[in-house]
Subunit: 264 residues, 2 copies
């Protein structure tokens, strides 16, 4: 006959755990000797080791109870399921190892790869790191609000970067972080933007359905306005010249300008 600590040690559990199993009825209370000590037989060893094997696999004790009480068929099914969960857990942990390595390498896990690639491309074009961080934060906010459309939007941004004028625009905007609020170079930026817009209109890209919903267009625009003090001034200049929008460009007829006031 075994004492509780012999039983526990052999099964690789603590004495406390064995008593816990007694309390919840998972392991039957054995006979006591005349001094009240529990005395265990081989059956208890077998059952306890079964309990631990299942519990080590992450099975809740209540479910262990069910399984040990079930017939062999139900037991086999249960074990199948547990094994499936174990395989999934192993995969999850392997995945976590990968994410952890990327975190340690200083990667930003808050953005999908497509956006990270886009930011790397900007960096490669010589855009200042401060500006890239601003863009990154803006993209994080966008991705958090519409995670499903982020990839298609970024694909469009990639296309735009094929235009040398757009590259020029970025290098100017990058430097604009240090400009005073009324810096005249903002006009130069507006000029480049207008050229880009004209070309977009000629290519028939304006007014076509771009597959992005209206609310999202508003979101992108407002994110842009929030991101820099120059943004609002830039939009004002462009509006004077008959353009509206940023994400989705519209040509506004001269007589419909200043529609902030409702037409009387």
């Amino acid at each position: 006959m075994l004492t509780i600590s012999q039983l526990a040690a052999y099964a690789g559990v603590t004495v406390r755990a064995v008593r816990h199993y007694h309390r919840i009825g998972l392991l039957p209370e054995p006979e006591r000797d005349r001094s009240g000590y529990r005395t265990y037989d081989a059956g208890a060893v077998v059952r306890l080791i079964r309990i631990r094997t299942l519990a080590d696999a992450g099975v809740p004790l209540a479910r262990v109870q069910e399984l040990l009480a079930a017939g062999p068929e139900e037991f086999a099914d249960g074990v199948q399921e547990i094994d499936k969960a174990l395989r999934a857990e192993i995969r999850r942990l392997q995945d976590t190892r990968g994410r952890l390595a990327r975190l340690a390498a200083g990667e930003h896990l808050a953005l999908p790869q497509s956006v990270v690639d886009y930011l790397d491309r900007l960096r490669g074009l010589g855009v200042e790191e401060r500006y890239i961080e601003m863009e990154r934060d803006a993209w994080i906010m966008i991705a958090a609000q519409v995670p499903h459309s982020i990839d298609s939007v970024i694909a469009k941004k990639h296309e735009e970067l094929d235009d040398p004028d757009m590259v020029k625009l970025y290098s100017l905007l990058s430097g604009a972080l240090d400009w005073p609020a009324d810096d005249p170079r903002i006009v130069e930026v507006a000029d480049i933007m207008e050229r880009l817009m004209v070309r977009a209109v000629e290519a028939g890209e304006v007014g076509a359905d771009d597959g992005i919903d209206d609310q999202f267009v508003d979101l992108l625009d407002s994110t842009m306005v929030e991101s820099s003090p120059h943004a609002a001034r830039l939009l004002a200049i462009l509006e004077e010249r008959g353009w509206r929008g940023w994400t989705r460009i519209e040509r506004v007829p001269a007589d419909r300008l200043n529609t902030d006031l409702p037409p009387s």
Copy 2:
């Protein structure tokens, strides 16, 4: 700006969890809008995703706190350690899968492989399954009490089975489960045992240091006596003939018999 549910959804956690992180100071409380709603920026997204990456790796939240507050060097060291723990956990789960498969296959995990092999050998010799179960339970009790010496003891039992008389003995003992208490065949068993003992004495195996400690010899003997009603009678017969012990045999001189009573 994001609401709590946008933040939570993007980071793959529940709103409740985010609030929990606020309470324990893991994620700083953000500004509120005029109606009391929390409003989050990109920094919160980045921090929350870092928290989750570490927490998913099984790091306690208190430790996450420390790591995120630490310098890059300490952080890298911490991540190293976490990764080590992850690898260990993955190995443990793979091991558990193996044990689970053996459990499902009906194996008894309560015994080391050496004992399982020994029982299989008995089974191969035609020993009855009931007797093998008895032996198994006895070996479980022994293994639980002295796990470190079990292998060497089993090795000796394997050697003994090379003797055809020992094989005969087992086949008799196996059948003895159904004998009445005073079955005369027990004498036949005693005869075989005596032959085995004589041969052991001749081979010089008796009295030599067998490397097993005295307490353990007592344990094996008492386990044997408890296992069957015939065992005690068998030992009594052998003692009449001048033999003592079972696990470790001793030749007792005729004039020293009945030493239960102290010599006057």
